[in-house]
Amino acid sequence: MSAVFPSLEWLEELKEKLNSDEKYARIAKNWEGDMLCQLDADDTLKEPIFLYIDLWHGKCREVAIWDEIGDKKPAFVMKASYGNFLSVLRGDLDPMQAMLTRKLGVKGNMAVMMRNVPTVLEFVRCAGEVTDEAL
């Protein structure tokens, strides 16, 4: 049975997927930087949740759930409602479309981000493939 999104189990499955996916490894080989996905509460998710994912040279080094951002400074912070994150993972909302229509906020070095859009798209594909069940 698949892990439920969002949960630590889901993050562990994502880590395993990223570390075994050849296409992701190839396209993300130059990526350096951890990211935090901030899922804001909506009708389904009652409290915000922070998913931490450390990505480095085509591999996933660490995943965790944080209670808050606090003083930590991940390289990128993606911020959206739970529903919009889920739409992206399910392929109902293109990640670039989400960003360009203000459904997904992105903070971090935009030079790195724009240079690596294919990596982001591959990451989203992998995350989508481990998302069978959600809240």
Partner: protein
């Protein structure tokens, strides 16, 4: 609305032109309103460089209001490059300063016997001799006129040597490198012997509900600053998405002939930011500041390259040196030439040279092989001065190709060179280029952004695959309508402002109670009005075409092998627009719906 200052250069007289109140509701301002004001003057017989040819500089109801990226204005008339409707949109500070003089626009008619410049200090207009300015570049006139005025705060709009020399792609420039570059309106200004317009305002910007507007624009600017697209534009400039566009096969190389070129990654906003960027520059009141300030190693702060400059003088010519493109951009700005048309015409020359259609016998000994930056620089100078081979290039790509019997190879539509967004990577751009009222233009609709997801569902826009065909035609038309609203207000396309926010700002600024449907209808009205003007000027359905090279597949890159189903797309577009397939004209029903029946051609 404030009046327009109407200036007759033949008689040296001035009058106030009062804009009909109902036209603001119907056309909003700037580009659409200019089309309505000039409708009767733009005839097929009119020589764009004649005394009778009008040149209308017009702001929008949001210009200078410190709204979200609303510092822009437009210039309009009849294009010497296309002989069709001409409109060009420019930022900087000049437009806001003009409105502070008590005028919303300047309408130039007639022709002076000797060089003049118009000074508008407060609301007092004066024509002054400009013999000493003739021959100066667009940067030099800024300094000279400000010194004469004794006021650094004077804002100057003017032409360079290209406009004086009647090069059909000369633009009108303000504030050091802000360009109304397209469609050759600098040529019209030069033909009138008008070198510059200097403005110094001391009034306020009229707003119907100033307190309401203030609260709205503060919130809008705060939201805009937080927008991810703003971050990209602010951090990386207009070339911020270059790598992604290249990945999609949308970045032209070697005059649209290939999809891949080693070193292209050096021609991106990221690369500029990591190498030569030392600062940013903003148009009036803009929180994004997409303008680049760079240092090329000589400790001098210069205007950095925009996307079109990086591509036009870069990959388009097989060159991957951002510093070179920066220098060529400045050269074009100083001469007062449109970067896209100048580099596009050069790209054609390189392409013909590589095909052995032209040789060093034609080029004055220059070998125009891909990557030859030195030759490009020499030819930019020669173009501006109409010297040698440069004089042939100075006529633009269509005339140049015609001279060598290869008209079909010119990548242009109706005489205007294509912007550097290859429609084979974003098929909607095929319709945008083919149907744009001013030739191959990406500012009548930046649909390439819609192709990567910038589609606001509150406007009824949908997201289609970038290689979808006829099914996206109605979406393209709707996107054009929305951008026509933007060009009427005037709103920068880089500002990702929610449509509801735009609506609230317009209503507060103008004292109107428009709905979003009204706003979209105004955009559609403006689009169809420009279509009527062009039909009057001789355009027909046969003009709605893409150049042949773009109908061929690319051999490599992100759009490799894709062929645009252009005929099907155009047919669906005509249906969506309610345009007659034979004549290319809007149907009577559509004109009636838009309130344009009385303007219809016979």
């Amino acid at each position: 609305m404030q009046p327009i200052l109407k200036v007759n250069l033949s008689t040296g007289t001035f009058e106030d032109y009062i804009i009909r109140a109902e036209w603001q509701r119907d056309y909003l301002g700037a580009a659409s309103l200019a089309a309505r004001i000039l409708y009767d003057d733009l005839t097929i017989e009119l020589d764009p460089l004649s005394s009778e040819s009008p040149l209308l500089i017009l702001t929008g109801p949001l210009t200078g209001t410190f709204g979200p990226a609303t510092g822009r204005f437009i210039v309009a008339g009849k294009s010497p490059a296309t002989r069709l409707w001409a409109e060009s949109n420019v930022g900087g500070i000049w437009g806001a300063e003009l409105r502070k003089t008590g005028y919303d626009g300047v309408w130039i008619t007639g022709k002076s016997n000797s060089p003049l410049y118009l000074s508008l200090n407060g609301s007092k207009p004066e024509l002054r001799a400009a013999d000493h300015l003739w021959g100066q570049d667009t940067y030099q006139i800024q300094e000279t006129i400000k010194e004469e005025a004794g006021l650094k705060s004077t804002k100057v709009l003017g032409i360079g040597i290209a406009g004086e020399n009647q090069i059909p792609f000369a633009g009108i420039f303000c504030d050091h490198g802000r360009a109304a570059g397209r469609t050759g309106l600098g040529t019209v200004m030069g033909a009138k012997n008008l070198k510059a317009i200097a403005v110094r305002g001391n009034g306020g910007i009229p707003l119907a509900k100033p307190d309401v507007y203030k609260n709205l624009r503060i919130a809008a600017n705060r939201a805009l600053k937080e927008d991810p697209l703003s971050s990209v534009m602010s951090d990386l400039g207009s070339a911020g998405a270059a790598e992604y566009l290249d990945y999609l096969g949308e970045m032209p190389k070697k005059y649209f002939s290939v999809g891949a070129l080693e070193g292209t990654e050096k021609l991106s906003g990221s690369s500029v930011a990591e190498t030569i960027l030392v600062g940013k520059k903003a148009c009036h009141g803009c929180v994004i500041a997409c303008g680049r300030v760079v240092d090329l190693g000589d400790s001098e702060k210069r205007k950095g390259p925009e996307y079109e400059t990086l591509l036009g003088f870069g990959a388009n010519l097989g060159i991957t040196d951002a510093i070179f493109t920066t220098r060529m951009g400045e050269l074009c700005d100083r001469y007062g030439m449109d970067v896209i048309s100048a580099s596009g015409t050069l790209g054609l020359a390189y392409s013909l040279f590589e095909q052995d259609i032209i040789s060093t016998d034609d080029t004055g000994g220059l070998a125009l092989n891909w990557g030859n930056a030195e030759a490009a620089e020499i030819l930019v100078h020669k173009m501006a001065h109409r010297k040698g081979f440069g004089a042939l290039l100075a006529e633009g790509s269509l005339s140049f190709a015609h001279r060598f019997g290869v008209e079909e190879q010119a990548v242009q539509v109706n005489g205007l060179e294509l912007a550097y967004h290859d429609p084979r990577g974003a098929s909607g751009m095929a319709l945008v280029y083919a149907t744009s009222p001013r030739g191959a233009c990406h500012n009548q609709s930046d649909y390439f952004l819609a192709e990567i997801g910038q589609v606001d569902d509150t406007l009824g826009l949908e997201y289609f695959d970038r290689h979808a065909g006829a099914e996206k035609a109605a979406n393209v038309a709707r996107h054009q309508d929305w951008r026509t609203v933007g060009n009427a207000l005037v709103l920068c396309h880089f500002a990702n402002v929610p449509p509801e926010t735009v609506l609230d700002l317009v209503n507060a600024a103008c004292g109107l109670e428009l709905s979003l449907d009204d706003l979209m209808r105004s955009g559609e009205r403006g689009w169809n009005l420009k279509r009527l003007i062009n039909l009057n000027l001789g355009l027909s359905a046969a003009n709605d075409r893409l150049p042949e090279p773009l109908l061929e597949p690319l051999p490599d890159g992100g759009a490799e092998g894709y062929i645009i189903p252009f005929d099907e797309m155009l047919s669906a577009y005509y249906t969506a627009r309610s345009w007659n397939a034979e004549t290319g004209a809007p149907t009577h029903e559509k004109l009636k719906e838009l309130g344009l029946v009385e303007l219809n051609i016979a």
